[in-house]
């Protein structure tokens, strides 16, 4: 079985596994390291695919069903690959009062994707966050990791449009 490959071979397949193995080692390969390990996988691979879930289950001696249960329980983990660019719209209370819903609606009208979806060409992902904690800057939107405050719907669209245009030029 693919999941049975040892740590060495896994590292040979992809050097990013070294970081994941290191996380597991730091926690003594104990079952309670599961969430930390999944964080590490997602940090380096962008998402959790079935193969990595199997590998982690095997390495930490946790049933695959439990690993899958944990990976799907927590909102932070995603089992689908993200798009090239990610736009996170905060849906915290302050941002909601400040008009986050309008941003999401116009986004859907323009690009045809709702929260948690990626455009069919794999370019843009739209994600909502529970609260970024930047409530003083509501409504807040994160463009590829860069937090921008007091955003209006058309400003968001313009920023995202620039991504798609730049990519077609390349």
């Amino acid at each position: 079985m693919e999941a049975k490959v040892g740590a060495k071979t896994k590292e040979a397949q992809d050097t990013r596994w070294r970081f994941v193995n290191r996380t597991m080692r730091l926690h003594g390969n104990a079952p309670h390291a599961l969430i930390e390990t999944l964080h590490s996988v997602q940090e380096h691979f962008g998402f959790l695919d079935t193969d990595s879930l199997k590998y982690v289950a095997n390495a930490l001696h946790v049933p695959l069903s439990l690993v899958y249960g944990v990976a799907t329980f927590y909102h932070y983990f995603t089992l689908k690959p993200p798009g090239d660019h990610t736009c996170v719209v905060c849906k915290g209370t302050a941002c909601y009062i400040g008009g986050a819903a309008t941003i999401l609606n116009t986004f859907e009208d323009e690009f045809g994707i709702g929260p948690g979806e990626t455009t069919s060409d794999g370019k843009i992902s739209l994600v909502t966050a529970r609260c970024l904690g930047s409530c003083g800057l509501a409504p807040a939107v994160v463009f590829d990791g860069e937090v921008k405050g007091r955003m209006k719907a058309d400003e968001v669209l313009e920023k995202v449009r620039r991504w798609t245009e730049n990519d077609t030029n390349v």
């Binding site: 104990a30 079952p31 309670h32 390291a33 599961l34 969430i35 930390e36 999944l38 964080h39 946790v62 439990l66 249960g69 944990v70 329980f73 927590y74 909102h75 932070y76 983990f77 849906k91 915290g92 209370t93 302050a94 909601y96 009062i97 400040g98 966050a129 529970r130 609260c131 970024l132 904690g133 930047s134 409530c135 003083g136 800057l137 509501a138 807040a140 860069e146 937090v147 921008k148 405050g149």
Partner: protein
């Protein structure tokens, strides 16, 4: 390596000496709010310009924690002039340096916001905007870790617990359980292995107090945890922090590494038999993990579902060992209590709610940001004096406290003092401290729906009342807001709320109907307008009927 009190004073002295020749200090806010307005770039540019002009011997640029007024960031604070600058851009840098010693740059001056700064009393946030969150030496120079030394060398564990009990400090996570009682319970638990957990899983949408404390003054939380560990007899600590707060996580890890290097964490702290280490555990975006038994499950690497209590974590917690769980703000209150004594703390606040409370002010208010006021401050002072009132001269409608577990408080209660009991009396809770201000353009049914959607998707699914009840309530609210509500919906809502409140397993379910119940209590006319007249009085919902023009 062990650290002594003399070492501590030596570090403080070296740090103070460094500041000796400094005539002007420019404090740049580098907490997440201001960083997202490019305060990091401003700081670098200031440093470069200071070096270029050769001013580095008497001008110091320092990154500090949250200055509070997040609404007008990036913020600067000039010492010793006591001037706050708002909205500083890179292009303003040379003008600011030119003005040092002269009159301040009036264009950037934010003295119009003075009540915001003057009306506060800072205990938890005393170092925010003052110390460099990435420097342990700076924290020690402000008297840091002396409380830990006192607790370890001059007090017995029981004296520490007595002091905390005398102070009347209550849990700042929301429920307000007396901290002294909790500590006593854990210290009396008979087991060699005990744990201390800091709950930094601040999931309430609209609350950012814990994030700001961790980003601005991480060492204070570490010190509070170490004192707790010494008092209850624990040697291991965990900080469970949201993965959504990358900056807080990074600063926390950095601070723990510094504390270990210096010897305030680790083996034989201050030459005593006390060992203490702290590990950071990342949350993964589950609101229910703020509940203590769910949080423990999450640290153990499992799905974060709560379990029935008792047994309480004080007897049966992490891996079955006695565990002390407190909120970030609770731990941050500990060092000043040990330093100044429990009696000092008990003098602040009201009869049953002692000390101060940090609030995150957000929503339709002019001065959004982080504030700290004594318990018992009237809501009106918070909203209109410190908060600067409602923008665009709109009318105040309600203030929402306690996030999805709290309620909306209408204008008639604005003069009510803020403490645990008064808030409970009007159907809300203190919560962790998010205050969302709403004006006449916010529809209360829509707000209730928003919170119910939150609780619905955050319900862990373990117990039926919460899993099914929140969905049913959400469906009813949806039909009311889209204009298909029936008159039977209101009594149905009330019955469902009552059921979910009384039969759910954990705090999430038990408190989830609060937003609906409080809005039904104070804004029933809005529900009725949606159902009978098919209009939204605030003009926020599309009810299908004739939409009232605002």
């Amino acid at each position: 390596m062990t650290l002594t009190f003399e070492d501590l004073q030596q570090i403080a002295k070296i740090e103070k000496d460094k500041q000796e020749g400094i005539k002007y200090q420019i404090n740049v806010c580098v907490a997440a709010g201001c960083l997202s307005c490019q305060s990091g770039v401003v700081k670098e540019s200031l440093e470069r310009e200071v070096n270029r002009r050769g001013l580095e011997n008497w001008t110091r640029v320092k990154g500090v924690g949250c200055l509070g007024l997040c609404a007008v960031g990036p913020l600067l604070y000039l010492e010793p002039d006591g001037v706050y600058y708002q909205g500083v851009q890179v292009s303003d840098v040379s003008e600011i340096l030119d003005s040092l010693g002269g009159s301040p740059v009036s264009r950037l001056d934010c003295s119009s916001h003075l009540p915001f700064f003057k009306r506060q009393q800072k205990i938890v946030l005393e170092n925010c905007g003052k110390v460099d969150p990435e420097s342990i030496e700076d924290y020690i120079a402000e008297g840091g870790y002396q409380a830990l030394y006192t607790a370890l060398r001059a007090m017995t564990p029981n004296e520490v617990i007595d002091d905390v009990a005398t102070s009347g400090l209550r849990g700042r996570g929301g429920a307000g359980f007396p901290t002294g009682l909790k500590w006593t319970a854990v210290s009396k638990a008979f087991n060699k292995t005990k744990f201390v957990i800091c709950n930094a899983d601040e999931g309430d949408p609209g609350a950012f107090m814990d994030r700001s404390v961790l980003e601005s003054d991480p060492h204070r939380v570490i010190e509070g945890m170490a004192i707790a560990g010494a008092a209850v007899g624990a040697t291991n600590g965990f900080i469970y922090v949201r993965a959504e707060y990358p900056l807080a996580v990074r600063r926390l890890r950095h601070a723990i590494a510094q504390a270990e290097r210096l010897g305030v964490l680790g083996k034989n702290v201050f030459n005593t038999t006390f060992d203490f280490e702290i590990k950071v555990r990342l949350g993964a975006g589950a609101f229910v993990c703020g509940e203590e038994t769910a949080l423990i499950a999450s640290i153990e690497g499992r799905r974060g579902t709560p379990r029935p209590r008792p047994p309480f974590p004080a007897e049966f917690g992490l891996w079955g060992f006695p565990t002390l769980i407190n909120n970030v703000e609770t731990f941050a209150n500990i060092p000043p209590i040990i330093r100044n004594g429990g009696d000092w703390f008990a003098e602040i606040g009201t009869e049953k709610s002692k000390g101060t409370k940090v609030f995150a002010l957000a929503g339709r208010v002019n001065n959004t940001g982080l504030i700290e006021v004594p318990m018992g401050t009237p809501l009106r002072d918070i909203v209109f004096d410190i908060g600067g009132g409602i923008p665009e001269n709109r009318r105040f409608k309600a203030v929402q406290t306690g996030g999805p577990s709290g309620g909306c408080i209408p204008e008639q209660f604005l003069d009510m003092p803020v403490d645990y009991e008064s808030l409970a009396k009007v159907g809300s809770i203190m919560g962790s401290g998010g205050l969302i201000i709403m004006d006449e353009t916010s529809c209360m049914v829509d707000v209730a729906k928003f919170f119910m959607e939150f609780c619905m998707s955050e319900s862990c699914g373990k117990c039926v009342p919460c899993r099914v009840g929140t969905t049913q309530i959400y469906n009813l609210l949806s039909s009311i807001t889209n204009g298909t509500g029936k008159s039977a919906d209101i009594p149905n809502l009330e019955e469902l709320c009552d059921l979910v409140k009384n039969t759910s397993l954990c705090g999430l379910g038990q408190t989830s109907p609060n937003p609906v119940m409080s809005t039904l209590r104070y804004f029933r006319d809005e529900y009725e307008a949606h159902i009978h007249d098919k209009t939204c009085p605030a003009g926020a919902c599309n009810c299908g009927g004739s939409k009232e023009a605002k």
